[in-house]
């Protein structure tokens, strides 16, 4: 146990605080001298970028909450009042709207990095699992947030997705009524979504804290998947990685602000600007782009599973879709045990590398399928995409774990001939 008064800082104020609550010692340890693999590339900057976006979302969200009214007859107009009458209200809204998209862009790239370089493998399994929890919380938050303007897309999107739960046998209908707080999507639904949308980002903040804590126990992975073995392999976080991450953050923010100021509605459906009418369904109900791949998986299942030669339905198509959609994210939790190859990085796993690239392509194919009505070519592509997704994680990766012959892995980070050019 350390004795009181041993803080090493010179400044008396800093010393006084640090002796009582070691914030400064912690900052120096975790964000100053913390050893990072010296070969991390810009794919490693997206965690910090995601954290920045979380901060931007919370700040812009709270400022908008000051002007929002969560009642069905007032919500849409309160958002428009924010756009028109509140000073810079339009800027707050466009930042919040597009911030959600850019938050998902950062997180999807961050996950892609994790997949490609095997950052989910021992000893980082729990870190990865907390990440999946963050993704689920983000999806819930974004879904409820989109409901708040109470537009046609808001109300009907909520109706379609919450109705999905009625597929669950026995408890389905009761569950949906419970979620709605009534017999259709109406004011009780909106009000509770507002409360939860306000709450969840702070839950995300807490899980992010745990996620970063877990990261600091193991240290970061790197592009070779080889753990640091000596000081030659690492650089202190500050100033090397802090300046690299800051640069990446500024570039990302530049693109984000370019969209906010010059194309703020590029990612928005036009029906989001019509008030919710429970008596009229829009021609095409389309979720936000970051949900499209999962929407495609949901709609890919079209055939009920029956007992052969009878009419008895064992597993309706609707329920298959719901299970697959949630399953697609839940199975990510088990990835460290599905892929057991001792080689982490895709750089040294030629078959795995192409399978992962194919997964990235598949993500966009599913996105395309999710945007279109579920028929014809888009539906077939959605079905192929779904098959590949599940085959990859449940069949291909486990087989590759012991069947794939990896390329020789460098002895250390410093010894890697590709090392040390940024």
């Amino acid at each position: 146990m350390a004795h009181f008064g041993e803080s090493p800082f010179n400044n008396p104020v800093v010393r006084w605080i640090d002796n009582r609550l070691p914030i400064f010692t912690m900052l120096i340890k975790e964000y100053g001298v913390f050893p990072m693999p010296r070969n991390v590339n810009y794919m490693w900057s997206f965690g910090g970028i995601a954290m920045t976006m979380l901060g931007i979302m919370i700040l812009s969200g709270i400022m908008m909450a000051m002007n929002y009214t969560p009642h069905t007859s007032l919500a849409f107009d309160s958002v428009e009042r924010t756009m028109r009458d509140v000073n810079f209200g339009w800027l707050l809204r466009y930042i919040h709207m597009n911030g959600a998209s850019f938050f998902f862009i950062a997180v999807y790239i961050h996950i892609a990095r994790g997949l490609f370089y095997g950052s989910y493998k021992k000893p980082r399994e729990l870190l990865w699992m907390f990440g999946v929890v963050i993704l689920l919380l983000m999806m819930a938050t974004a879904f409820m947030g989109y409901a708040l303007p109470w537009s046609q897309m808001s109300g009907w999107g909520v109706t379609v997705i919450t109705s999905m739960f009625s597929a669950i046998p026995l408890v389905g209908d009761g569950l949906v009524t419970w979620l709605w707080g009534g017999f259709s999507v109406d004011n009780p639904t909106l009000n509770r979504f507002y409360a939860l949308h306000f709450l969840l980002p702070f839950v995300i903040l807490g899980v992010v804290f745990i996620h970063v804590w877990a990261l600091h126990v193991t240290g970061s992975n790197g592009p070779t998947g080889v753990e640091p073995q000596s000081p030659e392999d690492t650089v202190p976080f500050a100033p090397y990685v802090s300046t690299k991450d800051s640069f990446a953050m500024v570039v990302f923010l530049t693109i984000f602000l370019g969209v906010v100021f010059f194309s703020p509605l590029a990612l928005t459906e036009v029906d989001h600007f019509r008030k919710f009418d429970p008596m009229q369904t829009p021609a095409h109900i389309v979720p936000e782009w970051y949900f499209l791949p999962f929407y495609a998986i949901l709609r890919a299942f079209t055939a009920d599973i029956t007992i052969p030669f009878t009419q008895i339905v064992l597993l309706p198509a609707k329920l298959q879709g719901v299970l697959a959609m949630f399953g697609s994210i839940i199975l990510l939790l088990f990835l460290p045990w599905l892929d057991r190859s001792p080689v982490k990085s895709g750089r040294f796993r030629p078959i795995f590398k192409w399978c992962i690239w194919l997964l990235f392509v598949d993500f966009f194919v599913l996105m395309y399928s999710g945007a279109k009505p579920p028929e014809g070519l888009p539906l077939i592509l959605g079905q192929i995409g779904t098959i590949y997704y599940f085959a990859l994680f449940l069949v291909i990766l486990p087989i590759l774990s012991f069947k794939e012959k990896p390329l020789p892995v460098p002895a250390s980070i410093a010894a890697d001939p590709g090392c040390c050019k940024h």
């Binding site: 010296r38 810009y42 794919m43 107009d77 428009e80 756009m83 028109r84 339009w90 800027l91 466009y94 650089v235 100033p239 090397y240 300046t243 690299k244 800051s246 640069f247 500024v250 570039v251 923010l253 530049t254 602000l257 370019g258 906010v260 100021f261 010059f262 703020p264 509605l265 990612l267 036009v270 029906d271 600007f273 019509r274 095409h284 389309v286 782009w289 499209l292 690239w357 990235f360 392509v361 966009f364 996105m367 395309y368 945007a371 279109k372 040390c420 050019k421 940024h422």
Partner: protein
């Protein structure tokens, strides 16, 4: 970065994926608007003419509940002119000390007067069709002002093989081609005070610009602030890159 290419490909795919399906209406011609583009600003003279078109023609059936009369100052009207425009409209207020609702002339702080008391009254007066509120129409339709312009110009005789239902009108732009609104604008319908020729084309163009402004009054502030922000950010990116390289130069 070698990772950019797949991201770019993704962006292209995404654009294709989320593009609207080709509507049953004719392919829309993209018009040139003064307010389009990074440096675009609203043509205030056109907005004033467009407001006149709305006031004299559209306001008979279409509300614009999200606008207040004071917003018209942005079009270049003086406060006195705005007061006068507002006062031309009678709106309901109350209850007074007797507990009754009463009528009074509108003030600049009031919202635009609606032609009907509520949606059901609007439907009853229009054969069951609801004339949509126009405040956000340009944002609520694919291709916004191009669509509005094309629709107003799109009335024509139905082709021989199409049967127009009673109470509806043939329009080559409207999805489904049969619209409840009868042709609202014609040549010479609105008397412009500034000498601009009042052809149907001009009236449609002006009202489309007015509706674009109504949906996004803050567009000019957004673009001018955006230019300053982007210039700053580009400079900031350059400085940050230089600083990062300087830091890393000690170990490369």
């Amino acid at each position: 970065m070698k990772n950019i290419l797949p991201l770019l490909a993704a962006a292209v795919l995404l654009c294709a994926a989320t593009a609207a399906p080709a509507s049953e209406g004719e392919e829309l011609k993209h018009q040139k608007w003064p307010h389009q583009g990074v440096f675009g600003t609203y043509d205030k003279a056109a907005l004033q003419r467009g407001f006149q078109v709305y006031k004299e023609v559209c306001a008979a059936c279409h509300s614009m509940k999200l606008l207040s009369y004071r917003d018209l100052q942005q079009l270049g009207y003086t406060p006195e002119q705005v007061k006068a425009v507002a006062a031309e409209n009678t709106i309901q207020d109350g209850p007074n000390d007797e507990g009754e609702m009463f009528d009074r002339p509108a003030r600049p702080a009031d919202r635009f007067r609606s032609p009907f008391a509520n949606d059901k009254a609007a439907r009853a007066a229009n054969n069951g069709a609801l004339p949509p509120d126009l405040s956000l129409l340009v944002k609520a339709r694919e291709h916004g002002e191009d669509y509005v312009f094309a629709l107003l110009n799109g009335y024509e005789d139905a082709p021989a093989d199409v049967q127009v239902m009673p109470g509806l009108n043939y329009n080559k732009v409207f999805p489904g081609h049969q619209i409840a609104m009868a042709k609202p604008l014609n040549d010479g319908q609105v008397a412009y005070g500034d000498g601009t020729a009042n052809t149907l084309d001009q009236e449609a163009r002006d009202v489309a610009q007015f509706l674009a402004w109504a949906a996004e009054p803050h567009m000019e502030q957004r673009k001018s602030m955006g230019i300053k922000v982007m210039l700053f950010m580009f400079a900031f990116c350059a400085i940050m890159l230089a600083a990062k390289r300087k830091v890393w130069s000690t170990i490369h």
